[in-house]
Amino acid sequence: MGVDDFANWLRDLAKTLHENAAYLTELDSAIGDADHGSNMDRGFTAVVAVLDESSFESVDELLKKAGMTLVSKVGGASGPLYGTFFLRFGTALAGVEVTPASVGEALKAGVGGILARGKAELGDKTMYDAWAPALEAYDAAVAGGSDLAGALGAAAEAAAKGRDATTPLVARKGRASYLGERSAGHQDPGATSTTLLLESAARTLA
């Protein structure tokens, strides 16, 4: 598991987000400002451009560059949140062998960055509602002896459940919170893109 595998993940994620851009924007139209799909697509297109132009010595260097690119290109809330995730995720893997356990620690560090920036809690109807159950499922899978792909698969499945569970919630963070009670009945776009991220990781980091 090395630089090329993580680069493949980012490429697969960019493709997935491009294919789902209209869907994410549709979800965002219902409770936000109709830009989540185009923003994620723009950000990860920029990440792929960086991958095409540069070569990376280490996994952490690659992931940190992806994070910086997202912060510099996306804007809105998703730029700082996903950008900070990749920065911290990469930093945690610096000088460390990629194992199910070290990736688990790195995921936690990344999500810690999201929480520090976004100050969201479970049940606020944000991407954290997908991340929180995903981290738990990942740890449980690793404790049960699962390999990286298996643990990421378990995390993706849990993220999807968390994503679905955002539908009835009333948003308390981000632009959806401005709708108050009217935000209930709609799936959160951020939890949806987080689920796509983990599904892509499970597919490619095998």
Binding site: A34, V71, G75, A77, P80, R175, S177, Y178, L179, R182
Partner: protein, 334 residues
Amino acid sequence: MKKLINDPADVVSEALLGMEAAHPDRLRVDHENRIVYRKEAPRSGKVGLISGGGAGHEPMHGGFVGLGMLDAACAGEVFTSPVPDQMMAATKAVDAGAGVLHIVKNYTGDVMNFEMAAELAAADAGTEVLSVVTDDDVAVQDSLYTAGRRGVGVTVLLEKIVGAAAEEGRPLQEVADLAKRVNDNGRSMGMALTSCTVPAAGKPTFELAENEMEVGIGIHGEPGRHRLPLAPAKEIAAMLLDPVLGDLPYSKGDSVIAFMNGMGGTPLIELYLMYNEVAQLLDRAGITVARSLVGNYITSLEMAGCSITLLKVDDELVRLWDAPVNTPGLRWGA
């Protein structure tokens, strides 16, 4: 989608090219970083004023760059906040040693990106940065458990008043305190008759039937708090003004700046008609209109609708409001 565009991806960059071409005497534009600068910035001894946000709210903020208002404005994609790189470049460029004030509307993305930019500018160039976050929208309930209220119409009034204070050469802390005072004394509420269409999305953000309106909307085409049957202007004016008056206790004898703002798709004839209703309601409440502003100043693309902002003022704020301003979007006395 029926718009005067080439490619949805190029809307913001091509609009900035046009803005620079239209106002060569007042503005220069850093196209790589999407920053609109006041031509003569930075000015020695003057606090730099920067704002920014998603595009689609024209003339805000680029149209308020110039004498007596902003030194720079950062444009994001349509309805998407700019990125820290832009804000940091603008911050360093307008700092003439007196420091920089960031004027930020309260949206999660804007707040996070400006915070990162302030940290970066301080670390990179030692620039002293203070910020004010506007949050005047009474349609949104403010509590510990939400992102707080949105920043809307009061941002325009704040940029004008604080711009005049910065022009006088006041120090950064004083300028920031004044900005906070303006925000604390302003309240707004908006409504929409139609949705806008974000170019990249290609279709209206929400659907409204002929006989419906959205009350409590923001400036990003996000749906409002309530969907109601369309009502006569008189009733809509009361529907917008009552919560504004009720939120900040304006009492009999108070003076305000009354700002009737169009969302981009409503003609002036309707805005003046609405202003007439608002002026009568204020008169009945015993509130004096010291100054007024009617027009499209903080918009939501082609959305039809309006918002009302009241800012409680004293003699000092009125004097700063009256000070000369020369920007593409607002100009008097200069």
